[in-house]
Symmetry: C2
Subunit: 339 residues, 2 copies
DNA sequence: CTGAAAGCGCTAACAC
DNA sequence: GTGTTAGCGCTTTCAG
């Protein structure tokens, strides 16, 4: 009972001021569920203005059983792809009167668990979730009965709602773009091997090479973290051996880290090493050289994710989105910039 | 009364199971405010485990008057500087048991207002706020009595709590670094002129030029939005006239957009045009060329901001932080990369 | 050390 | 069309 705010104006004050009952005040504020005479309605609105009344969202949430809040659990908001996704999700959610609780796990599995529990306690109306690793805490969420949508590939056996693009196909297409350039030695910089999305992306790469009848060399798989630093280090390792002619980086940060390492050795992209990457953002477009990249339809996916939470009925739904391969300068397609 | 979740286990169930009163269950969960005998405590804990009880955060918030939630209002989470700030804020807040409600205004003033109202209704324990423009909705927040900290420069007359770096000094130092290189023609790409932080940054630039006894040419102020696109367009405008020898971009996105425009014309950085920028992130470090930039101590600032909310007592406090000028390749200091 | 009970502010049946 | 009132699940005072 330690109400920190001095003395809040409550609905009772408004009712008193307007000379009506508290119920009517509610009806006015919520436009229902019962009709209100226009005259009364005006009196209430005036009273609200006069008293400076602000409905208490918490009390409303307790009484109505809905918090108008979705939780967003992601590995790290500082990742440009995730922040662009978070941006779109928030915009879309807000259109539906919902706000997002930000659960940034800081790439830490333990923290992720704490956040999920925390947001669940807060009675979020739904959860949007990208896990830091391949072992998402699905059961925990399911046990709570909270609507939730994975923003990531998950084990199909788990039978949960998810939105995603076919990452294997996207990786295939990205790599095929390189093979169509005629490049034969094509390495991959990928994420931790135990992660499903890493596996998908490697599969796509592998298949594209096989389709082009190119050898798949295990030593050309450079596994690292999904960070700039990771891409940088993977490239450094790569530079110790024979240089591939082309490179598929499985996220944008890795590609940028890799570019940095290459440029420090004076290796030109795309002239000496061509590059395509996965999950590019506007950052890829503006980079010099601009990156040829797989782009997910973030806005449409956000819209779908919010809709799925909204129309939740307990039966898992999988929505797969098409992706685009945006051509930049890094693959060698475009006329190179004057240097 | 449309409780969406089937039938929640409540404290009463736990009390019944443990053979105690509901009050004791509270005492156990909250470790207070009254002591509980160890034996009873165990019975309660067992009952909690057995029933799978989860405290309802909303009910707790209503009863206790604290939501354990802070609101974060920012122009756009997709801005790398802001997303790194959001990341640090969330990490720090979580250490204090608080979670952040994300209010991404989408660079829209109207939306910003809606978000503030929305989060205020939700009884956030505090608000962290960077406005999209120079007219923050201060009175609105103050009227609510909610603790709040501006994450931006505001009109000193407003008398609000804020954390910031001295942007004028930072801009001065960044520009001085260019004058010390011996560059004489130094342009500035800045944000909308009506914004205070733009004005501060312009002032710093101006003073640095004056200190170096260099002429300040009004036509070398290129005002645009704080985006990549803005930086790109400003650079294009600049390219229509005489090219300056050096350039101060007042945020990282503008610098990147500008770099793009320059490279499309085959203009080399730093050989032909040197560049420094404001509010760089790790992105500046990895860029090719790496950007010499002013770096704010984001983590320390986040820590301070959360502390200020926590220890809020109504009296405005201004905390100013020192900044770093991180030297990269874009200013011409470092040995240029082999190209 | 424990229990009973009065709220917190609002929603929405149910009465009139 | 409007008023009354029983909850929502929890915190915390006050008695014992």
């Amino acid at each position: 009972m330690l109400n920190q705010h001095p003395r809040r104006v409550t609905r009772a004050d408004v009712a008193r001021e307007a000379g009506t009952s508290v119920a009517v005040v509610s009806y006015v504020i919520n436009n229902g569920p019962r009709p209100v005479a226009e005259a009364t309605r005006q009196r209430v609105l005036d009273a609200i203005k006069k008293t400076g009344y602000r409905p208490n969202g918490i009390a409303r949430a307790l009484a109505s059983g809905t918090t108008r809040t979705y939780g967003l659990i992601i590995p790290n908001i500082a990742n440009p792809f995730l922040s662009s996704m978070a941006h779109s999700l928030q915009q879309e959610a807000f259109e539906h009167g919902q706000v997002l609780l930000l659960g940034d796990a800081g790439d830490n599995r333990q923290r992720e668990l704490e956040l999920i529990n925390n947001l669940l306690h807060r009675q979020v109306d739904g959860l949007l979730y990208t896990s830091v690793d391949r072992h998402p805490y699905i059961e925990l969420i399911q046990a709570s009965g909270t609507p939730f949508v994975m923003l990531d590939r998950v084990d199909p056996a788990l039978n949960v709602s998810a939105i995603r693009v076919d990452e294997r196909a996207a990786a295939f297409q990205a790599t095929r773009h390189l093979t169509e350039h005629g490049y034969r030695d094509i390495a991959i910089i990928c994420g931790p091997r135990e992660m499903l999305n890493t596996q998908d992306r490697i599969s796509g790469w592998r298949e594209a090479l096989q389709t082009a009848r190119l050898p798949v060399k295990e030593e050309w798989i450079f596994s690292t973290t999904y960070t700039r630093e990771g891409g940088y280090q993977a490239a450094c390792r790569m530079l110790e051996g024979t240089l591939p002619r082309a490179l598929f980086a499985t996220n944008e940060l890795q590609a940028l880290g890799c570019l940095r390492a290459l440029s420090e050795r004076g290796i030109k992209v795309p002239e000496e090493v061509a590059l395509v990457c996965f999950n590019g953002t506007v950052e890829s477009e503006f980079n010099v050289p601009s990156l040829t990249h797989v782009r997910q339809p973030v806005k449409a996916m956000a819209k779908a994710a919010i809709e799925m939470l909204k129309n939740w009925n307990g039966t898992p739904e999988l929505r797969e989105f098409s992706f685009d391969l945006l051509i930049g300068e890094s693959c060698g397609c475009c006329p190179t910039l004057i240097k």
